[in-house]
Amino acid sequence: MKVLVPIKRVIDFNVKVRVKPDNSNVDLANVKMAINPFCEIAVEEAIRLKEAGVATEVIAVSIGTKACQEQLRTALALGADRAIHIETDLELDSINIAKLLQKVVEEEQPQLVILGKQAIDSDNNQTGQMLAALTNMPQGTFASIVKVDGDKVNVTREVDGGLQTVALTLPAIVTTDLRLNEPRYASLPNIMKAKRKPLDVKPADDFGIDLTPRTKLLKVTPPADRQAGIIVESIDELVEKLKNEAKVIS
């Protein structure tokens, strides 16, 4: 079966984001970019399904500027078979991303679509669910275990207070949580090999979808600054401060 893995290029999780002085957005000029950590887990899960003989082909897809081909090459180096780049310079809202992905799903007919549960830039946590609704597929979000079993997939989900397992009829959508797996590193030979794997580029405009923005970003500000406090000299002083000054313990 085919597995489709949509991935997003985002700021590297180790980089501290800075808000632009004019408060128009965060400043992404010259910062290190990477594959979104949850998307990386999605790629890893798809590759493991292929290694286990469950998946036959893993296709990575990304939507964005030409630069996101870098992340698609990373996915190919990790083990994806081919990649699709939907090129656009627009900042698309999740609903429009989901509509573009819906077209890819219609064309490729994957049995499983695995996405990261959220991107660490916009923190929306919605594209996977939206794609599931648009394609009328069931969804297993925030997955920590994925088990394909015949025409079903069992997904164990991280929910408030524990775990929930659901059974979904394939084709289905899975979104990844942190515990699903630990992504591998791409080896140098695989990075070299990835350069020769197929990567199709399609302009977003060719999909015939109205990509008009649904939101307007009015302002981005830094969060309220935290002032450094005091250094205490002893545990006794610490306990005393916590009890009597901060009043957080009794």
Partner: protein
């Protein structure tokens, strides 16, 4: 304007979070209704009827909604959405699961995790794990919103709303519930704890996390870890606090042997009071800590435990 709030519940009781989501609805302003979708959930409906400022409770009581399966609940909410301008749910795992489906079925984008309301179409939400705060205007005709409950104070429980049964049953038929495995722990969950004590790479190994347990037991605290401690294999990933782990904001956060990498700070810097215990006086964690102590954790932890 009319607003539909989808209740967060477990078929027997209404979660306190719904009172906060209703506070967000009141900030938007309008006639507020609550939907209780569940199975044998009449008790929840009665509790919902008491939520302050709500005029009507819609109860969809059917086996199809017992486990809040996103496929079924989203169809129901979408059907009801015809009559509302705003649809709100709590940004917990249930709401995060079904609400984007509702948004997609209504052909709108969702405004996720709001922490403030500027006007009926403009909302405040954290992005980049809270390292930036965005003010976003929704241009869609209907607003589908999830509410982060740390941003709103619960409304009172002094209302008296009318309760109306919804007969419509939406069962997508492509998913089923298999099992629940709820964590049974003496300690609170990271997300719900009012005190958290976390260990970092300075703990040196997983066994040393036992040093945190005694303190956690005395304080009724949850135990967390930095990504460095997780990556080093000391503790499992579900203990991770940080941008790629859990984002927490307890009353008291005690960081032990944690240097304060950006990715960790992103997950805990909204805590009310932060304590740092680290032997390196230059560790960045001291720049966000209210109280810091420069000490070897292997001396400091036993002493702290004995003095609580």
């Amino acid at each position: 304007m009319s607003i539909l709030v989808v209740a967060e519940h477990d078929n027997s009781s209404l979660k306190a979070d719904t009172f906060k989501t209703v506070a967000a609805a009141q900030a938007i302003g309008g006639d507020i209704h609550i939907l209780v979708a569940g199975s044998n959930c009449q008790e929840v409906a009665q509790q919902a009827a008491k939520v302050n400022g709500v005029s009507k409770i819609l109860v969809a009581d059917n086996a199809a909604y017992e486990h809040q399966l996103a496929e079924n609940v989203s169809l129901l909410v979408t059907e009801l959405a015809v009559d509302y301008d705003h649809i709100l749910a709590t940004a917990l795992t249930t709401g995060k699961n079904f609400m984007p489906r509702v948004a997609a079925l209504l052909d709108v984008t969702q405004i996720s995790d709001i922490i403030g309301v500027e006007s009926a179409d403009t909302f405040i939400r954290p992005i980049y794990a809270g390292n930036a705060i965005a003010t976003v205007q929704s241009l869609d005709n209907k607003k589908v919103i999830t509410v982060r409950t740390t941003g709103f104070d619960a409304v009172a429980s002094d209302g008296n709303a009318e309760v109306v049964a919804i007969d419509s049953v939406t069962d997508a038929g492509n998913s089923s519930h298999v099992s629940d495995e709820l964590t049974v722990s003496e300690r609170p969950e990271l997300g719900a704890a009012s005190i958290i004590i976390s260990g970092g790479r300075g703990m040196q190994n997983g066994d040393n996390f036992k040093l945190l347990e005694g303190i956690a037991d005395k304080l009724g605290a949850a135990i967390g870890a930095s990504r460095a401690a997780v990556d080093a294999g000391f503790v499992p990933n579900d203990m991770q606090v940080g941008q790629t782990g859990k984002i927490v904001a307890p009353d008291l956060y005690i960081a032990v042997g944690i240097s304060g990498a950006i990715q960790h700070l992103a997950g805990m810097k909204d805590s009310k009071v932060i304590v740092a215990i680290n032997k390196d006086p230059e560790a960045p964690i001291f720049q966000v800590a209210d109280y810091g102590i420069v000490a070897d954790l292997f001396d400091a932890l036993p002493e702290l435990e004995s003095k609580l």
